[in-house]
Amino acid sequence: MYPSLIKYILQLADNSLIHGHRLSEWCGHGPILEVDIALSNIALDQIGAARSFYQYAAALEGNQKTEDSYPYHRDVRSFYNVLLLELPKGNFGDTIVRSFFFDAFQFELYSALLKSTDTQIAAIAEKSLKEVTYHLRFSSEWLVRLGDGTAESQHKIQKSVYAYWDYCGEMFDMSDAEKDMLSAGVSVNTVALKSNWEQTVANTLEEATLSYPLAKENAWFHKGGKNGIHTEHLGFLLAEMQYLQKSYPGAEW
């Protein structure tokens, strides 16, 4: 198994990769051209950030690993992304809600990682934070537009908010790798990020005239992804993403 530092870097990378991959499924299918372009741009930012993290993990691990080893040559159980991001992309509102929940989290996470004692992680966070600021603005604006839109758009997006809510807790639930890296100041205490995140979510939902799901203390949530236990959906995603490298190992172009 990977040492905690590499596992932590892979966790950061996998979240970006899987989110970016799901967003890339909208390329050519966006409801309007501008949205299609925006989602593809955001996908590119996320996959770019994942690439920086994979390059770093490969440099640390050595052993002839490259940035491609991790996305293409690992099986489901060795991916550490949160479950929220691997769920099927759903309708446009589903993608907006899920992106919004994650963007608001990633904004807090990268802001905190600027102070990571690992300078490469801090540098990637610094670079990506500027981009995540755009992502959060985009998903927030669409959340408000759909929530405070027609009766139908409001009904649909409210349904999405409830559907994904039960997956949000995992983002703040510390994995073993996160806990291990905390004392050295490499990772951040994600539990402490939650109040800011809740504030952002509450404010935006209010502006969108949507109901805030009741957040009870210790409310139950789906989890497992950070430890490699995934939903069935990730396997299908990887089957498509890894097809070429599995069929023609080492293929280059």
């Binding site: 372009i37 996320q46 670079k127």
Partner: protein
Amino acid sequence: MVVSQDNIKTKAAVFAILENVADPEVPVLSILDLGIVRDVIVLADDAVEVLITPTYSGCPAMSMIAANIKMELLSQGFKQVKITEMLSPAWSTDWMSISGKDKLRVYGIAPPQYNTAVNPHEGDAVVPCPRCESTNTQLISQFGSTACKALYKCNDCLEPFDYFKCH
């Protein structure tokens, strides 16, 4: 390594050579205009290291830029060219040269309108139309044809245009 007078000349010469390397997406801009060359280290008479920083994380032009830098320097007589990517400090449009901004406008792309260090929030920036100079313009989308651009429309001449957004 002893830095000889020749080497100092060579560093300036490398910068002069890099002025010939254009951004593949916006060919009127050199990579120096764009501010992505952070430093040049002359390692020997025929060996040089160029430190560059990506504009956006997923910018597909970066590997092409790195290849173009290498080819340009090799064609100018260098035998070894090392390209090193620096992520921090993160690239900013504040590093874009004044002449670069002028070239953008002439090319039909509205240049970044302010310094992000002074005004960190894009907010309601007025972006003049690069064609008719009207300030009666509106944002269509934060995301444009490439990661670094937003899409605007001029309400006077009715032309859509790209805005190189402050970053």
